[in-house]
């Protein structure tokens, strides 16, 4: 096809999309079974009896990783043999932008839940608006406050402060965005040494951020009593920071893959879409964190 067209490239047929669907299928039924067998309704007790769900889930994850490996191997091979052109590169770029937009909307839903809880649910449960009778009849002792440290049914937690680890983490992410931009610039002007150095620094900062998050979760669970079960504050705290953490993990993995591809000399000044996409993604998780720092930790 490429031979017939000056402009378009339509890739050859490929088994990996079908394999990817099978992988998702295994993950879905494995995860559903695993979650059901290993948790009890409404509480987080792990039951360690043998179930098939965990094996199917594990197989699905491995299957998915293998599929992605082979899919991307094919794509990289095609890119390196020069089959990709401006047109396709434009499609990739626009596709990535819309993917990031969909991620924005996902976090938008979580932030929306936070504001709804903070501005409407909690005051209403405390009797605001026309809810005086609701308050009186359901939980008369309940006091509206944010962060919600005592739930209507009496579970308590302490608040995660903003100016310890979270502030340090904010600084780490902002610096990592700067180092990544320096690396990107080095790629464009062709300074390989600086590119490798700053790409490495960015990855280390990402890993450092993640380990501090792990430490913070440990602190929350063991010293503050801030858990998933601690009411809406804990639910939102772990949802927002947790999904952000998952995204930082994915971003870091993308940067690591890019690091090895830099070492192999895959990227050129003109052709480095994957690098650019990873950088966009990294800046996106950075911006999400800034919002998160303000509304989850600080205010």
């Amino acid at each position: 096809m490429a031979e017939n067209s000056s402009k378009y490239y339509v890739p050859e047929s490929s088994p990996w999309p079908l394999f990817g669907s099978i992988g998702l299928f295994l993950i879905a039924i494995g995860a559903a079974n695993f979650i059901q067998q290993s948790t009890q309704f409404g509480q987080n007790t792990l039951r360690a009896d043998g179930t098939w769900g965990q094996y199917v889930l594990m197989a699905g994850v491995l299957w998915m990783i293998a599929t992605m490996f082979f899919w991307w191997r094919d794509t990289i091979k095609e890119s390196l043999t020069g089959l990709h052109n401006e047109q396709l590169s434009g499609s990739y770029r626009q596709g990535m932008i819309w993917f990031i937009f969909s991620e924005v909307m996902f976090f938008g839903a979580l932030f929306g839940a936070l504001f709804y809880a903070r501005w409407l649910i909690i005051p209403w449960l405390g009797g605001a608006g026309n809810n005086a009778m609701t308050h009186e009849l359901l939980w008369p002792g309940f006091q509206a406050m944010w962060p919600l440290t005592t739930t209507p049914d009496g579970r308590t937690t302490q608040v995660m402060g903003a100016w310890g680890l979270p502030a340090i983490n904010t600084a780490i992410l902002i610096v990592s965005s700067i180092t990544l931009t320096i690396a990107h610039h080095a790629l464009i002007v062709g300074e390989r040494g600086r590119l490798i150095l700053f790409q490495g620094i960015t990855i280390l900062l990402g890993l450092f951020f993640l380990s501090l998050q792990v430490y913070e979760y440990y602190h929350a669970y063991h010293e503050l009593g801030l858990t998933l079960e601690a009411g809406i504050y804990g639910s939102l705290f772990f949802f927002l920071t947790g999904f952000h953490g998952i995204h930082v993990t994915m971003g870091t993995l993308m940067l690591i893959v890019c690091f090895f591809r830099i070492l192999k000399g895959h990227f050129t000044k003109e052709n480095h879409f994957v690098y650019e996409a990873s950088a966009w993604y990294w800046h996106f998780v950075d911006v999400v964190w800034l919002f998160l720092f303000v509304v989850v930790y600080w205010l």
């Binding site: 017939n4 339509v10 047929s13 299928f25 559903a32 309704f41 626009q94 819309w98 993917f99």
Partner: protein, 535 residues
Amino acid sequence: MTAVAAHHDHHDDHHHAPHGLKRWLFSTNHKDIGTLYLWFSFAMFMVGGFMALVIRAELMYPGMQVVDPEFFNQMTTVHGLIMVFGAVMPATVGLANWMIPLMIGAPDMALPRMNNWSFWILPFAFTILIGAVLMSAFGDGNPSAPNFGWTFYAPLSTKYGPASTDLFILSVHMMGISSIMGAINVIVTVLNMRAPGMTMMKMPLFVWTWLITAFLLVAVMPVLAGAVTMMLTDRHFGTSFFDAAGGGDPVLFQHIFWFFGHPEVYIMILPSFGIVSAIIPTFARKHLFGYASMVYATASIALLSFVVWAHHMFTVGMPLAGTLFFMYMTMLISVPTGVKVFNWVATMWRGSLTFELPMKWALAFVVLFTCGGLSGLMLALTPVDFQYHDTYFVVAHFHYVLVSGAIFSIFAAAYYWLPKWSGVMPNTFLGELHFWNSLLSVNLLFFPMHFVGLAGMPRRYADYALQFADYNWWISVGAFWFGISQLLFVAVCVLCAMKKGKKAEAAPWEGAEGLEWTVPSPAPFHTFDTPPVIK
């Protein structure tokens, strides 16, 4: 890799299509993937339709006859889910796959492998969902399939949801991944793959409506993913999103769900507007009246759809200011919708009208969709909605817009483009039978629902008061009539697939314009390898 080697052996101008199973399983061809989507959605339409007939069989007479109430709830739930996510959405995605590259002069979708992934996720996702129903049906209701209505409100789906809810949640995640990838593909194709000279304001309206639909999909499917993830953690990890005892609120679920759910309604209907805007000018032999206003109206409808969600929740309780805001915003949508209906009618005004099959379906769409739109306007009025809410009036309303709206337009599209897809004209005799039987039965089926709804018959119940018995008998007769009529369409499609019928020319419809009619019928495996130039 053999496929690559084989391909390079014959990179001449003949473009041999790949053969056998691999052609369909590993496809990167927008036409093949479109065909897969269309057949899949048709199969789901039959499965979901069968479930509707189970519902109508039970409701034909008052009292319990056919199924027990628990299974009835599973039928209403899964019927809705399958029709929304399995029948209507994949059908329009299939049309987009087939037609958008042909309409804008592109060789394929922008990201063909991702396109195939979008499709192949769906059969697996629906295997999970339908598997839950089969286990329930053959296990005497144990384990139960999802039974909380297609809107899966908390706490019915969290605290009280059956074990299969977790499977349902993960299958919704899969459908979401498929939809987001499919939508990104459409957006990128439209923005990046248009032939030289095909400016945005020269694009056929079907392309425009799908571009806006795709934007809605990318915007709201992630929100749905957020909602079902919160359900999952509420069910198993002790979070309190939808539990007031922990400071959450079941109403929060409804807000998140309908923030997805209302744009979802337009995701199902906007492509239909595009289809009808393609067909009516063809058979009126006039240009579409008010092309630019159609584009702006579609965009307005899409943007307004983000700020009307709580009109599904008037009776739930919210501050008066909120109620008024959502009521007025909802009524505002009738303005751009009215622009569209006006433009379709104005297109026909003093045109040389002929009434071939696609035109018949398109006209039925205009009239019946408008009926559904008007009952929607009634539902938008907060004070009267307190009377109508959760009655059969609502069921009548959304079936008028989705069955005689979205699905009729999909039939219109099928009769219109089947010559291009298959190379033969659809059988007119069977097609006429299909049309007239569907048109009469769909009204017998859904029109009396307005009456029983206004009289107070609640939806989603397996039984009803004796006063509703007569209408329900007629409704069920209409339902079986409509269901059986669709077998005629199976016959039409199978005949076309077997190439039985009159040979179709490249441009089989006299007044039709557009790039898709410049390629032979059936459209060759590869089209527009070299982009056409649009003047």
